[in-house]
């Protein structure tokens, strides 16, 4: 987490620490004014729902990145857990069992990722790239190659209920942001995560249980991706083995956009939230403006590149 500079002028302080947040606010106000239908209740609900998946997984991806690793397998875990939850729900007739199976499967993948990275010192890129393919395959195997429809309507509540007029996945995402934000700031686990990412040797010498922390991070990531997969399956009323290709990079991009360092040691939950919101807002606004799909790819890439350059400038000024 970026240490505040003591000497800075209040305005500099604000710019340094809330750079992307200001960008987001400017963006939000800008599109509210210039894009018709953007600032409406229907669209705010749609926007919140559209970032809920990335938001949930970004919570734990933040820990992963902050510890100097990342996890590409989340996208396959989302698909696999959704399919598994659908299959188990259909076979047992129990929604609770289905959800538990989906989440647990994600957790198992997470533990395995964590053990391979921490104990065998295999690069997280390779480890989770392998896991991504294995788990994607498992998703197709469990589903028999095509989507699995769920007939028990109780399964749809998780993704489609709307307490107080706000969709359930949005509530879940908000709770995740708050909970993991507190864990990152106020718990030993959060501090240890940043310590491992900042300087693993130093952290180890200072008595941080480095391996355990890493395994815990990947496990949390797996559980969260599994849960997000179940929520998605609930929204879609079916488990889709081919869903969410490229999702992991969306999550990582959102975190990086929010100032989370890819080399570890730096990251705040506010940053991740802002990153997720910027990505979602841009995507939403481009769709509302009917921007052709191919231009959307270009725009998204440019925004990401711009964000990291902006971040780099900020860091340089701070030094």
């Amino acid at each position: 987490m970026a240490a505040p500079t003591q000497r800075a002028h209040p305005l500099h302080h604000l710019l340094d620490n809330a750079g992307m947040l200001l960008v987001f606010i400017a963006l939000f106000v800008g599109v509210s004014v210039f894009v018709p239908n953007f600032f409406t209740w229907v669209n705010m609900k749609g926007l919140a729902l559209s970032v809920s998946m990335v938001g949930m997984v970004a919570c734990t991806m933040l820990f992963c990145l902050a510890s100097g690793h990342f996890d590409l397998s989340v996208e396959s875990v989302v698909a696999f857990s959704g399919v598994l939850a659908a299959v188990v729900t259909n076979q047992t007739g129990s929604v609770a069992l289905g959800i538990a199976a989906g989440v647990a499967a994600g957790g198992v993948v997470g533990v395995l990722n964590g053990v391979v990275v921490a104990k065998f010192h295999i690069n997280a890129l390779i480890t989770t790239l392998a896991a991504m393919q294995i788990v994607r395959g498992l998703g197709f195997i469990v589903s028999g190659g095509s989507a699995v429809s769920v007939s028990n309507t109780a399964f749809f509540v998780l993704g489609n209920a709307s307490p107080l007029g706000v969709p359930a996945p949005v509530w879940i995402t908000v709770v995740c942001f708050l909970a993991f934000g507190i864990v990152l700031r106020a718990s030993a686990f959060g501090r240890h995560t940043l310590a491992v990412g900042g300087n693993e040797q130093a952290a180890w010498l200072a008595g941080v249980p480095v391996d355990r922390i890493k395994i815990a991070i990947f496990t949390a990531q797996g559980l969260m991706a599994g849960f997000a997969g179940v929520v998605l399956a609930s929204r879609m009323t079916s488990g889709q083995p081919n869903t969410s290709v490229g999702f992991a990079l969306d999550v990582i991009a959102a975190c990086v956009l929010g100032g989370v360092s890819l080399s570890g040691g730096v990251g705040t939950m506010t940053g991740a939230v802002v990153g997720v919101l910027i990505m979602g807002t841009v995507q939403n606004a481009m769709n509302l403006m009917n921007v052709p799909t191919f231009y959307q790819y270009v725009a998204r890439g440019l925004i990401l590149l711009g964000a990291v350059l902006f971040d780099q400038l900020r860091q340089r000024r701070r030094r």
């Binding site: 505040p4 106000v29 509210s32 018709p36 239908n37 429809s149 081919n242 509302l288 009917n290």
Partner: protein, 338 residues
């Protein structure tokens, strides 16, 4: 620092809300202008780009707004429907990335009071049955039958003796939708009076020219007595491969009638100086899938005209003589040449 950070987004949003809310909260639906969405599963595929092009043509002619969004998976599809709702769209045409998303898509559409027209892929309900949602798609069987009928007509026109003639079917039965094409051609040939015993099948391992070349060579080796060939397959490539194999054994435009299926791959044959055994192609086009689906939906929204529930389209036979006109009719004049 943390307090600043937590407070800022809240303050920012409130500020933003205060600034913009009077001007920009437009009522999304009602008696306003008509807006229609067109969601496709693979925006990078030429087929879907053409669907968009023809849908846009419809929108321009009738003067409504069309919003085109690529939706490669279920999550993006559901999000896109929310975006359409926010844009005030009253309905959308969709080619779903997965047919089992049907119930979720329809629930979402109902929650926004939107009308839905499905294209290319038909929704399947949780019970495994097709859902009762307006649909337009290719009929593989009808396309195949059209090829079979055209082959027979040309066979009769040339007055070939049946004892010297046989049909070579290059098949790919692993994929049901293409199997229906060759089955349809076989069916139509037999119905027209072509002896079923003179239709020889060669299974290709891949649905490309080399795959068909190998498959046809086996058929040719098995039946050296055949002097004249009718050729059909699952696509243009299948017929091209078979024609090339036959040319290698001395057959030519005089002794082969090959009719392919496709959206332009086979047309290169017609640009050659001399006619080849590739006689015609059954051209499939997304023209109706893009234009008519959008038109049906527009009239449904505007005038309450219920669209037809299930429309199956087939192809148009294009020969060396008429293919340029067919391309123009199908709206493919600028895209068929790769």
């Amino acid at each position: 620092m943390s307090r600043t950070r937590l407070l800022l987004p809240v303050a920012g949003l409130v500020l933003a809300a205060a600034l913009v809310s009077p001007g920009c909260t437009r009522a999304p639906s009602g008696e306003g202008p008509i807006t229609i969405g067109f969601l496709v599963k693979q925006p990078e595929e030429l087929w879907f780009q053409n669907e968009w092009k023809f849908a846009q043509r419809c929108a321009n002619e009738y003067g409504f707004e069309l919003i085109k969004i690529g939706t490669p998976d279920g999550e993006k599809l559901l999000n896109a429907i929310d975006v359409l709702a926010a844009s005030g769209a009253q309905g959308f045409v969709v080619c779903t990335p997965d047919v089992k998303l049907g119930p979720a898509v329809m629930a979402k559409a109902r929650s926004h009071a939107m009308k839905v027209f499905t294209v290319d892929d038909q929704f399947v309900g949780s019970d495994g049955a097709f859902m009762d949602v307006p649909y337009m798609g290719l009929s593989a069987k009808a396309i195949g039958r059209k090829v079979g009928r055209a082959l027979y007509d040309e066979f009769v026109r040339r007055g070939w003796p049946i004892e010297e003639t046989a049909a070579c079917a290059v098949t790919f039965d692993e994929l049901n939708t293409v199997k229906e094409r060759t089955d349809g051609s076989t069916e139509a040939l037999v119905e027209a009076g072509f002896p079923a015993g003179r239709i020889f099948r060669g299974a290709e391992k891949t649905t490309d020219v080399p795959g068909a070349f190998d498959a046809a060579n086996i058929v040719l080796t098995q039946h050296p007595d055949v002097k004249r060939w009718l050729v059909f397959s699952v696509n243009d490539e299948g017929v091209l491969g078979a024609v090339r194999a036959m040319e290698g054994r001395g057959f030519d435009a005089e002794t082969i009638i090959g009719i392919g299926i496709g959206a332009g791959t086979g047309l290169k044959e017609f640009d050659k100086q001399q006619p080849t055994g590739y006689f015609a192609s059954c051209m499939i086009s997304p023209l109706r899938h893009g234009y008519e689906t959008t038109e049906h939906l527009y009239k449904w929204i505007k005038d309450g005209v219920e669209p037809p529930g299930d429309v199956r389209t087939d192809g148009v036979i294009a020969t060396r003589a008429n293919y340029r006109q067919v391309l123009v009719d199908l709206g493919l004049e600028d895209t068929a040449r790769e």
